[in-house]
């Protein structure tokens, strides 16, 4: 068993599960999507992305690409959240929440692909 692989996999799966947890719920209902959950999701995604740096096989390159995509979506969501809470007159409206959650949903798709790639690679190794 390779501890590095365990930690690596742990963060990738955690990123996906947290992402799902944040995403579930009515899309524009402020009660269903929590800020703290989002922050933790953001941090775990960042850690997962850093873990993917510097591997050179084809699968690893794909993993890095999916991580970058997820991060891009989440940074967008975070910016919207900050702007809505602190800058815009409107404050947090259901519409803003809907766009944040849809971005997070996009990040989740990228995370799903990450997990699929990781599982596929593991299965290939087993055979």
């Amino acid at each position: 068993m390779n501890l590095e692989k365990v930690v690596f996999g742990f963060f990738i799966f955690l990123a996906l599960t947290l992402n799902f947890g944040f995403f579930v719920g009515e899309i524009d209902n402020l009660e269903h999507h929590h800020l703290r959950e989002f922050v933790i999701l953001f941090i775990v995604n960042a850690v997962a992305l850093i873990m993917k740096l510097g591997d050179r096989s084809q699968v690893d390159a794909m993993l890095l690409a999916t991580g970058l995509v997820a991060m891009l979506q989440l940074v967008g969501a975070a910016l919207i959240w900050i702007l809505a809470a602190h800058v815009w007159e409107s404050g947090m409206t259901p519409g803003v929440m809907a766009s944040i959650v849809s971005l997070a949903g996009g990040a989740m798709v990228a995370n799903v692909i990450s997990v699929v790639l990781l599982v596929a690679e593991t299965v290939m190794l087993r055979r």
């Binding site: 800020l35 703290r36 922050v39 941090i43 960042a46 850690v47 850093i50 873990m51 740096l53 510097g54 591997d55 050179r56 900050i82 809470a85 602190h86």
Partner: protein, 571 residues
């Protein structure tokens, strides 16, 4: 693989980045959780946005105070912890990231990337020069002054720094790398479609051999020119079709023999192979009959001995360590040649010539000084090993100076300058001395002071569009027409046509009434003015018509308009 380094650097970035993310997250979460009190005593909690803002300026030690409200003591307690944790981790991770970016291997990889990019962007023909010593430097100067491009690879950073400081007309991409790796040669443009030739000019025969081998294997059509001063290595290079192998000692020995047996040939070589702006000097004719003393029987001495032993002169060799170099079959003496006694024994007083050919500059200079004192009439040939001593050698005023690096550089320049010039020299080899002397006096009469410029052009669209146009109009163009001054058709330009190459036939010094055909190539020599005046005839059809004594060719519109114009405009 060089791009391994990028992945390695990225891998090494993981730790500092992770440390940063983890510590920042803990600090932010702590700030969000710890309750604060504003001035009215209300409890407030910091939001994630403000917490991240606060941590950002705290960790980087910029510091703006306690925002958005004054902190409670509980928050300050947490902040104390955060300051120590985040500042430390910030300094650690930024420090290691900067250190990673300065990593020597990464920098080298980046330099190689820049170099390869610079070479890829070259759109004109260029030469790949491996080894930037005295030969390389001389060549790069000569090539760039003619507006040609060069690419340089050398393993010594000091030398390349010298290249950066040169004031060259063209940008010369350079890389510090071991040219024995084929990768390096490839990034230097070995397979670039514009790569004209690979020149292996390092001081190591081994490296030159490997470069030549790689060049011939990876790009068989490319011209490969090598320097080698060992006969074994030369033979090895020639065995796999290296185009030119230059041995400075052989070249010089052959030149010396030519100077002794065919003086005018040697002068032609000097003049036509000279650098731009050189002065036209007539070298002193070396005496053929009599005793020549050769000091040093190393590689140079052996080459000279081999070439001169067939001539009428009598050779006397002085060698310091015959156990290393071997001895000549004829008369030789043991000694350094720097002391009067040895030279006296060798018969310096009745000798006509002296060749100081040891591999030590100080000894060579000393030999010349001592010998001159004993016999002021001597014809002196001296070998220079190091350009540092340039001034000393010019002060000693030897009749002929032999500098291996410059000899190789000169020979390569001739090869690269114009293929026709090399062909011309080959043909001249077979001509007799009287013919060469006639040509020397012709060149001397044409040129007043400075050495002639040598140029070649073809009867084709690129070099001479006007000639083609005139040929299409049915005019006969003779060589003599090209030599007329376009401004004043009765005077001739100060130029000589040395070689005419038509079809498969090469004609030395063609007749002036020779007719030119499309596809011919001509080699000329003359002064700079003649060269630029001649171009007018080659590229401007109107000038050429005047020279040929024909009416000017007017444009199509003008031809249509002319009949309808008033008479006074029809000139």
């Amino acid at each position: 693989m060089i791009d391994n380094i990028y992945f390695l650097i990225l891998r090494r970035m993981r730790k500092p980045l992770l440390a940063l993310v983890v510590v920042y997250s803990i600090a932010v979460f702590g700030l969000v959780l710890v309750p604060g009190q504003d001035s009215d005593g209300n409890v407030w909690h910091m939001g994630f946005f403000h917490a991240f803002y606060f941590v950002s300026y705290m960790a980087t030690t910029i510091g703006f105070g306690e925002l958005p409200h004054e902190f409670s003591d509980a928050q300050r307690l947490w902040t104390i912890f955060c300051i120590y944790a985040t500042v430390t981790v910030w300094l650690y991770s930024v420090g290691s990231l900067i250190a990673l970016l300065q990593d020597e291997n990464l920098q080298r990889a980046l330099a190689e990337g820049r170099f390869a990019g610079g070479v890829k962007r070259i759109t004109t023909p260029f030469f790949l020069i491996v080894g930037y010593g005295q030969t390389g430097r001389d060549l790069v100067r000569a090539l760039t002054s003619e507006g040609r491009r060069a690419v340089v690879i050398d393993s010594d950073l000091e030398r390349l720094n010298g290249l950066q400081l040169e004031k060259l007309r063209e940008f010369v991409p350079s890389l510090q790398a071991d040219a024995q790796c084929p990768d390096v040669l490839l990034s230097g443009g070995l397979r670039h479609p514009m790569c004209q030739a690979v020149l292996a000019l390092t001081s190591s025969n081994e490296v030159n051999l490997k470069v030549a081998l790689a060049a011939k294997l990876l790009h068989p059509e490319v011209t490969v020119i090598c320097r080698s001063d060992s006969n074994d290595v030369s033979a090895n290079m020639l065995s796999f079709d290296t185009n030119y192998v230059l041995n400075p000692f052989e070249i010089f020995a052959r030149y010396l023999r030519m100077a002794l047996s065919a003086h005018c040939h040697a002068i032609l070589n000097d003049w036509l192979g000279a650098l731009r702006d050189a002065q036209l000097g007539e070298p002193r004719k070396p005496p053929i009959h009599g005793r020549w003393i050769l000091c040093g029987f190393g590689r140079f001495g052996k080459a000279v001995y081999r070439e001169l032993s067939g001539l009428a002169c009598e050779l006397m060799v002085i060698e310091q360590s015959p156990e290393h170099t071997g001895t000549p079959p004829t008369a030789w003496m043991h000694g350094r040649g720097t002391e009067a006694a040895t030279l006296e024994q060798a018969g310096i007083r009745e000798a006509v010539g002296l060749i100081a050919g040891t591999d030590n500059d100080a000894n060579n200079l000393s030999i010349v000084m001592t010998a001159r004192a004993l016999n002021p009439e001597l014809f002196v040939v001296v070998r220079e090993n190091n350009l540092v001593n340039e001034d000393l050698f010019s002060a000693v005023k030897a009749d002929t100076r032999m500098h291996p690096s410059l000899i190789v550089a000169n020979r390569i320049r001739t090869l690269l300058k114009s293929p026709l010039l090399s062909r011309f020299f080959d043909l001249v080899q077979d001509c007799d001395e009287a013919w060469a002397c006639t040509l020397v006096s012709r060149v001397a009469a044409t040129m007043q002071e400075s050495a002639p410029e040598v140029w070649e052009f073809g009867f084709d669209r690129k070099d001479a569009p006007a000639l083609l146009e005139a040929a299409d109009l049915g005019f006969d163009i003779r060589l003599s027409d090209l030599l007329k001054d376009p401004g004043e058709p009765d005077t001739n330009l100060s130029a000589i046509i040395l070689l005419h190459q038509g079809g498969s036939k090469d004609q030395l010094l063609p007749e002036p009434d020779m007719l030119l055909q499309a596809g011919d190539r001509l080699l000329c020599c003359g002064n700079g003015r003649a060269r630029s005046r001649m171009r007018w005839n080659l590229v401007d059809i109107d000038v050429l018509s005047t020279t040929l004594g024909q009416p000017q060719q007017r444009g199509w519109v003008w031809q249509r308009l002319q009949p309808h114009l008033p008479a006074r405009w029809r000139t």
